[in-house]
């Protein structure tokens, strides 16, 4: 008997933490990594009598993401309360949107080895993040830190349009790039500023109805998402093959053990009793406001790539890498604007920058050096103030600390010595100290001159122009 063929059906719920300075309903900072509860106030800790007031920037970002993902914008939208008890949720209700989410009916176009595809976006809604729970094994209890409580989120809910882990990753990468281009979030999976819950079901190929789906949480990397999808597909197929049923449930992925388990509880009725939040008034996005947000939309990657091809004489491969993140593209454009040398800027980004990112296990968003300083470095090389090997050394420091290369070179005394007299003196000393090599040179061993150049550079601590050294040396010999 032929084994049954199964198709995987996947929809995603992606939470993105917005890059606002303050929380969604209060003036507390959203900065990452503060000491516990130092970014809290009565509002985001659910103190009796406190009331929420909406951060306007959250609406701007949500609409911008909606427009970039081809959504219809709900010009009259509202907030609802989602009621459930959990310690990370200080009011025991989360302010979210159910009845009138801010964006609906969008789509994102992706490309995989199987070709191009459009993934539908069911809706995008605004909501507040929960606090952080830390498990204390010593006291056998949990501890709550509300610094993240009230950080603004958008939840992007896709249609069940994806059929493989590859498509899921392509969709997430596209979303991430779009949101990053908008500056609406840094979208870091490992820091939790982008989180994906995977809704997955399987069905026999050709079946019209969807199978029963499960929801998988706690997926902190693309690798975890891929593994969890494969694992859950297998688990569901095994259940069906052995005549059992898939139960609609929420499952938690354990990435170290590489399996998921059901988060079931008798106390968890999953009946959220949504109702309009009486403490918040509706949001009306006028045509003017919408137009204003539209006018601020950035140039996205496809447009950027096309323009680069027109404007800059750099390889298409480089264009692809540079525009892969908005941060890198901005850095490129701003540096070029200062120094006017696209090719050289591209070389620094494609060469040393990528090398150091890889070596230090960093993302392009983590680049901290400024366009001004990169332009200065390029200027130093151009004017032959430093040679290329010194430039590489300086770049490493620039990469780490964003130093001013001009000042740095000055302070460390790294400038190429162009004083011919001083150089000639050093070379004379080198010739005097290495009679054997001089003899070898005169005996026709061309290589011997390389040794003498090396000795000179060493004596000059690398600060000489190698061409000039060669010239003087030949003259003296």
């Amino acid at each position: 008997m032929m084994a049954k063929q199964y198709e995987t059906v996947i929809g995603l719920e992606v939470h993105v933490e917005l890059a606002t300075k303050t929380k969604i309903f209060c003036g507390c900072s959203t900065a990452f990594g503060g000491a516990p509860n130092t970014h809290t106030c009565p509002v985001c800790t659910g103190m009796p009598g406190s009331l929420p007031v909406l951060n306007k920037q959250v609406v701007n970002y949500a609409v911008a993401v909606g427009l970039a993902t081809n959504c219809e914008i709900t010009q009259y939208c509202k907030f609802d309360r989602k009621n459930y008890f959990y310690p990370d949720n200080p009011q025991n209700y989360q302010i979210s949107q159910l009845y009138l989410p801010i964006c609906r009916n969008g789509h994102v176009d992706i490309e995989t080895a199987d070709g191009k595809k459009s993934v539908g976006i069911h809706e995008i809604h605004m909501e507040e993040d929960a606090g952080k729970l830390i498990h204390d094994d010593w006291e056998d209890c949990s501890l709550v830190d509300y610094n993240r409580s009230g950080v603004p989120l958008i939840e992007i809910v896709s249609e069940p349009d994806m059929r493989s882990a590859e498509e899921v990753i392509a969709y997430l990468e596209k979303l991430r790039m779009t949101v990053q281009y908008l500056g609406a979030s840094d979208c870091k999976l490992n820091e939790g500023s982008m989180r994906a819950d995977v809704n997955l079901s399987v069905r026999e190929v050709g079946a019209k109805e969807f199978g029963t789906r499960t929801e998988m949480k706690n997926l902190n990397s693309f690798r975890a998402i891929t593994r969890a999808i494969e694992n859950e597909r297998e688990r569901q197929i095994d259940l069906l093959e052995s005549g059992q049923q898939v139960i609609q449930e929420t499952r938690r992925w354990d990435d170290t053990k590489e399996y998921s388990y059901a988060m079931r509880s008798k106390e968890d009725a999953q009946d959220y009793r949504y109702f309009p939040d009486p403490d918040l008034v509706p949001v009306y996005i006028s045509d003017e406001w919408l137009a204003e947000i539209k006018s601020r939309q950035p140039e996205f990657r496809e447009e950027k790539m096309a323009r680069y091809k027109e404007e800059y004489d750099i390889p298409e491969y480089d264009i692809g890498i540079i525009t892969d993140t908005k941060h890198m593209a901005d850095l490129f454009e701003e540096t070029v604007a200062i120094c006017g040398q696209p090719k050289k800027v591209s070389n620094w980004l494609m060469g040393e920058t990528l090398r150091l990112l890889k070596e230090k296990n960093m993302d392009p968003e983590d680049i901290r050096f400024s366009p001004e300083n990169l332009a200065k470095l390029i200027g130093l090389v151009d004017s032959k103030a430093i040679n290329s090997s010194v430039a590489k050394e300086v770049f490493e420091v620039l990469f780490d600390k964003d130093i001013d290369p001009e000042k740095y070179v000055e302070e460390k005394g790294l400038k190429t010595v162009n004083d011919e007299g001083a150089l000639r003196k050093t070379i004379e000393d080198v010739i005097a100290a290495n009679p054997q090599s001089v003899e070898d040179y005169h005996n026709g061993k061309e290589k011997a001159i390389g040794f003498l150049v090396g000795q000179t550079m060493k004596a000059m601590k690398g600060k000489a122009d190698p061409g000039m050294v060669n010239q003087i040396l030949k003259g003296l010999l």
Partner: protein, 484 residues
């Protein structure tokens, strides 16, 4: 003249003129509290030392000329559901029995800015759920007119404190009549402002779309004066309304000529005590004699207000009270096994029966499968009720009626049948549903010697009309106070 018999405005004037000091006023009030509290129990918390210290500071500032507010040095009582920084705020519940807020409610701050000095926190129905102040976890409050009777509720402590001269004025909150009804039962003036007029920031929420803070005072002049101080646009409360017309004292004018007053027939039908009816109609007559045009009309949907109200209020309350879970503040049960058991035990031990009843009802009407039939339906009827009022106010400047069907019932009579108790709110709750202002002013006594309340209701943002009519009526009626 005895300090305690001053109204708030009279006291402020006397302090300004140097006839009395803020400290003397506070001492007089504290002495009165010592004499009366065993009988009345109007307060949950009194910090005498802090009150005297604050009075002393106020007096110094008044003398230096840095404190010139209209209520400078006047002692005030605050309902215990308004946050007061550093002072216990219990909502008369065990679950907040040890809760000391880290900030003060905006209305309280406004009063303090105007120079009022806080005496303490008044008793109430637990989380403002009740009409008698008997659901308090800290004992019942008794009606100063007759201590066998309830003071009304939920702001019963505030109303009783004003009536018993245990303060010069008080703040209350009104979700379904909780200022107006106890004001009526205790023979004082109580005003529920237009929704959004007084900031709700720092008011522990019961029914967020209905709650409003308002004054309980000895007379209409005090009422207008306090309103002028507590009304403010607050950027911390999204539902706060920006108003230009908050010069309420400008409406203290003795004139109702040509004012059109509608009397809803539906407010005078079955269930209304004949003595209350007679008292209220006599007041209407008195206003008519002063030139008001009084006529009867049919205000529709009156009977639907109570079920609408209890659905909405219970639903909002069930969500608002979820935050009381034993984690961040307040009571936590002693022994428990795991998180959910801790939640359940904390809440079951911390909340009283009436609160639990409303939380259960509210959770049910919002639960899966019932939302449309109950909650959404109630929101639609609310829209219809609002429309009925809009139509009435197209014809009338205000609506006149009783505050409650009866005068204050005896202690222990009401709680046995919750539904019957809820029916007592019939004349007050539609005002909250429609966001309207309503004032309660004493208009006589029944044969038992208990006060009868007259209610005037105006269209949104028309408090001044209410104040003017109430002020005019007060002049006709004359002095109204307990003879000691």
């Amino acid at each position: 003249m005895d300090i305690l018999s001053y109204s708030a405005v009279e006291l402020a004037t006397a302090i300004k003129e140097g006839k009395v000091t803020a400290v003397e006023a506070m001492e007089a009030v504290l002495a009165r509290i010592d004499a009366k509290e065993t009988d009345i129990n109007a307060y949950v918390t009194i910090d005498k030392d802090a009150a005297l210290k604050a009075a002393k500071e106020a007096q110094e500032k008044i003398e230096q000329g840095t404190l010139t507010g209209p209520l400078a040095g006047v002692p005030v009582a605050i309902k215990d559901n308004m946050c007061t920084e550093g002072m216990l705020t219990t909502c008369s519940s065990k679950i907040l029995g040890n809760f000391i807020p880290t900030f003060s409610a905006e209305a309280v701050l406004n009063l303090e800015k105007a120079g009022a000095v806080i005496i303490g926190k008044t008793n109430m129905d637990e989380f403002a759920m009740g009409s008698t102040t008997e659901t308090s976890a800290y004992g019942v409050t008794r009606n100063p007119w007759n201590t066998e009777h309830v003071p009304g509720g939920s702001s019963g402590g505030s109303a009783a404190a004003v009536a018993a001269q245990e303060c010069f004025f008080a703040l209350g909150s009104d979700t379904g009549g909780s200022i107006r009804q106890p004001a009526s039962f205790c023979g004082v003036v109580g005003l529920k402002p237009t929704y959004g007029t007084v900031s709700r920031y720092g008011l522990v929420a019961y029914g967020s779309s209905l709650d409003q803070i308002g004054p309980l005072t000895k007379d209409v002049t005090d009422c207008a004066t306090v309103m002028e101080i507590i009304a403010s646009h607050d950027t911390k409360d999204s539902t706060s309304v920006k108003r230009e017309d908050t010069d309420f004292t400008s409406a203290l004018v003795e004139d109702v000529k040509g004012m059109k007053i509608g009397i809803p027939r539906d407010y005078f039908g079955e269930g209304l005590d004949p003595e209350v009816k007679a008292g209220v109609l006599a007041a209407a007559k008195a206003l008519e004699e002063k030139g008001a045009i009084v006529e009867e009309f049919d205000l529709s949907l009156v009977e639907y207000a109570i079920p609408t109200y209890y659905t909405i209020a219970a639903a909002e309350a069930s969500s608002n009270l979820e935050r009381f879970d034993g984690i961040k503040y307040g009571y936590r049960t002693q022994g428990y096994e795991g998180l959910h058991n801790m939640y359940k035990k904390t809440r079951s031990e911390g909340f009283g029966p009436e609160v639990k009843r409303r939380i259960m009802l509210g959770s049910f009407v919002l639960s899966s499968g019932y939302y449309d039939a109950y909650y959404l339906k109630a929101l639609k009827v609310k829209a219809m009720i609002k429309k009925a009022f809009d139509e009435a106010f197209a014809k009338y400047d205000m609506i006149l009626g009783p505050v409650a069907p009866t005068t204050a019932p005896k202690l222990g009579e009401s709680l046995s049948d919750p539904l019957k108790m809820y029916l007592g709110d019939i004349y007050t709750i539609s005002v909250n549903l429609a966001g309207l202002p309503g004032i309660s002013i004493p208009c006589g006594k029944d044969s038992k010697g208990l006060p009868i309340g007259l209610q005037l209701i105006a269209d949104s943002f028309n408090e001044k009309k209410l104040i003017q009519a109430a002020y005019t009526y007060e002049k006709i009626r004359g002095d109204f106070r307990i003879e000691d």
